[in-house]
């Protein structure tokens, strides 16, 4: 009995050892960095290609819209992820709280990024900023300034288009409203906004602009960079031409800004390369690419936004701490449910 069980284990052990040797050898020889990304591949590949051209380090890439943090957590100490890229701040704080990130100390990063765009403990930092602004019909909207508060004013009844309230961009905007006005007032505001909607909140930011052009609504809430993207797209350029950009609350606290950002994985197997990638992405060359290719606001001090972005006017960002917004996300999402925002006007 005993011998037979050892015999049975023999091949298993040999196979396991062979596999182990294989795994170890691939880890040891390759010069690479593994990226888990919540950002769409098209927005990030130009920078990753530039990184590879400059350093010779191969970038391996996975994009998913949801679940990458959960994947990293499940993979644990053997996770191949080196860095996590996100398209918004909430995911960075989520990653940190789930314990899948690790702190990085780098003079190259700390010297160019303002403290407000970095985690005090070094777990994450911002790469780009984008403002959540109002696209207003050139034809039908006379005013050149607006506030978020005003979006709930009944004078806009049936005139506003926006995507789902449960979309992370809106959640973060609503969280900032809670931070500034308290939960009760934010709820009343959200209800007012809902009553002003021209249609069910769904689709994307660009579609909201499309609906302004078509005359369904006068105002659309969206992120800044979509303007640049629409102008580059033959079908969508006409939508973009029909609207002007209003930076909400430019006269008082400033416009709500979110970041796309980056974090070091807790168990990064290629930590050195990962840090090189991080430092590359905050350096002027890559930051300028973000500005030019994606029409985002660069995070690094001293790097200018693109001429197109500058032409929209100057951005005065709301100084509210990102961590405060992260903290209030759950509340914001609950408010969206509570006022039944996504059921649309008249529900």
């Amino acid at each position: 009995m005993r011998t037979s069980s050892i015999h049975r284990l023999g091949p298993f052990a040999a196979a396991a050892a062979a596999l182990a040797a294989l795994a170890v050898s691939t880890v040891a020889t390759a010069q690479e960095v593994n990226v888990y990304s919540y950002r769409e591949p098209d927005l990030i590949t130009p920078m990753l290609d530039a990184f590879k051209a400059k350093t010779g380090i191969k970038v391996r890439f996975i994009y998913a819209k949801e679940g990458l943090i959960e994947r990293m957590a499940a993979e644990g100490r053997n996770s191949p992820a080196d860095v996590l890229l996100t398209n918004e701040f909430g995911l960075l704080s989520e990653a940190k709280s789930k314990g899948v990130t690790s702190p990085v100390t780098s003079a190259a990063i700390e010297s160019v990024l303002p403290a407000s765009l970095r985690d005090p403990e070094g777990h994450w930092f911002g790469l780009t900023r984008r403002a959540r602004i109002v696209y207003a019909s050139k034809e039908r909207v006379g005013q050149d300034a607006i506030t978020y508060e005003e979006l709930a004013d009944p004078k806009w009844k049936g005139k506003i288009c926006i995507r789902s309230g449960q979309h992370t961009y809106n959640i973060s905007l609503i969280a900032s409203m809670i931070a500034h006005h308290g939960e009760e007032k934010a709820e009343a505001w959200l209800k007012g906004l809902k009553d002003n909607l021209a249609r069910k909140p769904a689709g994307g930011d660009r579609e909201a602009v499309r609906d302004v052009k078509a005359g369904l609504c006068d105002l659309a809430v969206g992120n800044t960079y979509y303007m640049g993207a629409m102008l580059k797209n033959p079908e969508q350029a006409a939508w973009a031409e029909a609207v002007k950009i209003l930076f909400p609350n430019a006269a008082d606290r400033g416009t709500h800004v979110n970041i796309s950002g980056m974090a070091m994985a807790a168990n990064a197997p290629n930590r050195e390369n990962a840090q090189k990638l991080m430092e590359f992405l905050v350096a002027p060359e890559a930051q300028a690419m973000y500005a030019e290719v994606n029409n985002e606001y660069p995070a690094a001090e001293g790097v200018k936004a693109s001429a197109l972005v500058e032409s929209w006017g100057s951005l005065k960002p709301d100084p509210l701490a990102l961590s405060k917004i992260a903290e209030l996300r759950k509340k914001a999402s609950e408010l969206v449910d509570k006022v039944k925002f996504d059921l649309g006007p008249g529900s």
């Binding site: 050892a17 795994a23 993979e75 609906d211 005359g215 759950k330 609950e334 969206v336 996504d342």
Partner: protein
């Protein structure tokens, strides 16, 4: 034989005929009761079903932790509406697909009218269209800024939405329409296969006993097809429940939308898992209720006589009307979206030419083939095990094996990553301890894991078709084969397999097409730098550049088309003693 519900007015002679055609002969029942299955069957089935239910089990496991205020919040806010919406969506899509699929299948099977052969092929094609792409197309076409409403405004001089009423595509009704128009082929295929394989004798006896053609349909053909229809509709229902892409784009707030908001915006994965678990329980309940209602009614017939179907001719304008009517589902599920895609693709053909695009196509093909083969082999084994060794464990276990289909894709992916990574890390720990080296992750992030995900997700699809095919084989054949000395496995090879070829073929093709279209699980489970057509398209659609994604969307459709047409061949040619038409 109440399960065939011939209706109270049925003449006694007909009742007797129906009983003899549909009922289980007593000697078979006796044979079944006597036989004793070897424990090997039970053990193998248990092992397979355990793997297939791994993600479901993982989700239930996650859902055991406390979820804080998730439920009190949901119950007080959106849950009641979400439940109603989900129910309406399921009922609506269920009815729409059942009526469309069954009516079209009956018309095409029993009547001859102009273009009948072409209509038959066309009706299957919407299967190739991913539902979220159809949703994008219809919103593009029918929303306020779309060409239809723009044209109407131009025509009547309306300017604002207040000037007129137009049905909102972003509504539960719109979602029923969109999902129904891409999902009805599941019912069409199963109904058609069932009608084609029904013995004409059964129908003729009904006619000679005084039934009208419609009466024959209601009292004989439909009851005989019931298991097949139930299989088709349950696939449709599970697919509508797990859908997120289409429903999200249409702004319809289903339970799935609540699962995602709970998980992603409120960081409460436990609450999300609990919602998913409740949804699974509801799906299970529906399936069980349908089974109970049907009991052990057998729907195979015992006659071995097959003759070609005596088509009824529909002539003249009525024939053309029949053709036009029966092609409508195709127009809704494929024709219109295709025109919109082509219109968009015309301006973005450059995307067709990239290398990424080619390799994504190859990856899709490879995974589709792997998943189809694996799912069919497993489904065949399970269906046969249920048949020859079905005991109190095997029967429900086989039924449960396909439950993964009801999970939203991302939820299934997480339910798979957790146990697979756990296993990987456990092996790694062992090897580290004994050999001092690390194996890293072997399964997690591998193509094997991705294929496994597809098999788990689409096993229900394969199982539905193969089960229905198996049910149509008379147990008398098993009894005869076994009494002539065949073992269970050799009988499978020599008796069942040849009879099941059409069912196996159509099951394989369905899984293939579904794998081609699968998006959320693929996104999350794939290895580095790996794209399928679906993820490639999505990378672009997620950027809200749907127009640029259309060449890829078209490719999914085109690559999916060939198998869909083959599928049709398998079904229409699936008449015993009668190859092709």
């Amino acid at each position: 034989m109440t399960e065939l519900s011939p209706g109270p007015s049925l003449r006694p002679e007909l009742k007797d005929v129906v009983r003899r055609l549909g009922g289980v002969p007593e000697r078979v029942l006796v044979w079944r009761a006597r036989r004793r299955a070897s424990p090997g069957w039970t053990a193998t089935v248990a092992a397979i079903v355990a793997v297939m239910l791994m993600p479901v089990a993982a989700i239930f496991w996650i859902s055991l932790a406390p979820s804080g205020d998730a439920w009190s919040h949901l119950v007080a806010t959106v849950l009641p509406e979400a439940l109603v919406t989900t129910l309406l969506l399921a009922i609506g899509v269920g009815i729409l697909t059942l009526v469309t699929g069954t009516a079209a299948a009956w018309l095409v099977t029993m009547y001859r009218f102009p273009f009948r052969g072409a209509v038959d092929r066309l009706l299957v094609i919407p299967l190739a269209m991913p539902s979220y792409i159809t949703a994008y197309c219809y919103v593009d076409l029918l929303d306020f800024a779309g060409p239809v409403q723009t044209a109407l405004r131009g025509l009547f001089g309306w300017t604002s939405p207040a000037d007129y009423w137009f049905p909102d595509i972003r509504s539960t009704g719109g979602a029923v329409f969109v999902l129904g128009s891409v999902l009805y082929p599941y019912v069409y295929l199963t109904a058609r296969a069932s009608f084609v394989q029904q013995s004409v004798c059964a129908l003729e006896v009904a006619r000679t006993l005084g039934r009208t053609p419609m009466g024959t349909f209601w009292s004989v053909a439909l009851p005989l097809a019931r298991p097949a229809l139930a299989a088709g509709v349950s696939l449709v229902l599970m697919e509508s429940l797990n859908d997120l892409g289409a429903v999200q784009h249409l702004g319809v707030q289903t339970l799935t939308a609540s699962i995602y908001a709970t998980w992603l915006q409120r960081s409460n994965i436990v609450g999300a898992a609990q919602l998913a678990a409740v949804m699974m329980i509801c799906v299970t309940a529906v399936i069980v209720i349908e089974r109970l209602a049907r009991r052990e009614a057998m729907s195979h017939h015992t006659t071995g006589r097959y003759r070609s179907i005596p088509f009824q001719d529909i002539e003249g304008w009525r024939g053309y009307a029949a053709a036009a009517l029966s092609v409508l589902p195709f127009v809704g599920g494929f024709g219109i979206p295709l025109v919109i895609l082509l219109d968009n693709a015309a301006t973005h053909h450059d995307r067709f030419l990239s290398l990424d695009f080619l390799s994504a196509s190859l990856n899709s093909l490879m995974l589709g083939v792997l998943a189809a083969i694996a799912a069919v082999v497993i489904a065949l084994f399970l269906a046969y095990a249920r048949r020859v060794a079905g005991n109190g464990f095997i029967r429900p276990a086989v039924r449960a094996a396909g439950l993964g289909y009801a999970l939203p894709g991302t939820v299934l992916a997480i339910g798979l990553i957790v146990p697979l990574s756990g296993l990987d890390n456990w092996v790694d720990g062992l090897v580290r301890e004994h050999f001092g080296v690390s194996t890293g992750l072997i399964l997690s992030g591998s193509l094997a894991a991705l294929t496994l995900a597809y098999v788990i997700r689409f096993l229900a699809v394969a199982l539905g078709g193969i089960d229905a095919g198996m049910d149509r084989i008379s147990p008398n054949l098993d009894a005869a084969a076994r009494s002539l000395g065949e073992t269970a496995l050799s009988a499978l090879k020599r008796v069942h397999l040849p009879l099941l070829v059409p069912a196996l073929g159509s099951a394989a093709l369905l899984v293939f097409v579904d794998t081609m279209k699968e998006l959320p699980a693929t996104l999350l489970l794939r290895p580095f730098d790996f794209d399928t057509l679906a993820t490639y398209v999505y990378g672009l659609a997620a950027l809200e550049q749907f127009e640029e994604a259309t060449p890829g969307a078209l490719a999914i459709v085109v690559v999916g088309l060939v198998p869909v047409l083959l599928l049709h061949q398998a079904v229409a040619g699936g008449r015993a003693g009668h190859r092709g038409e």
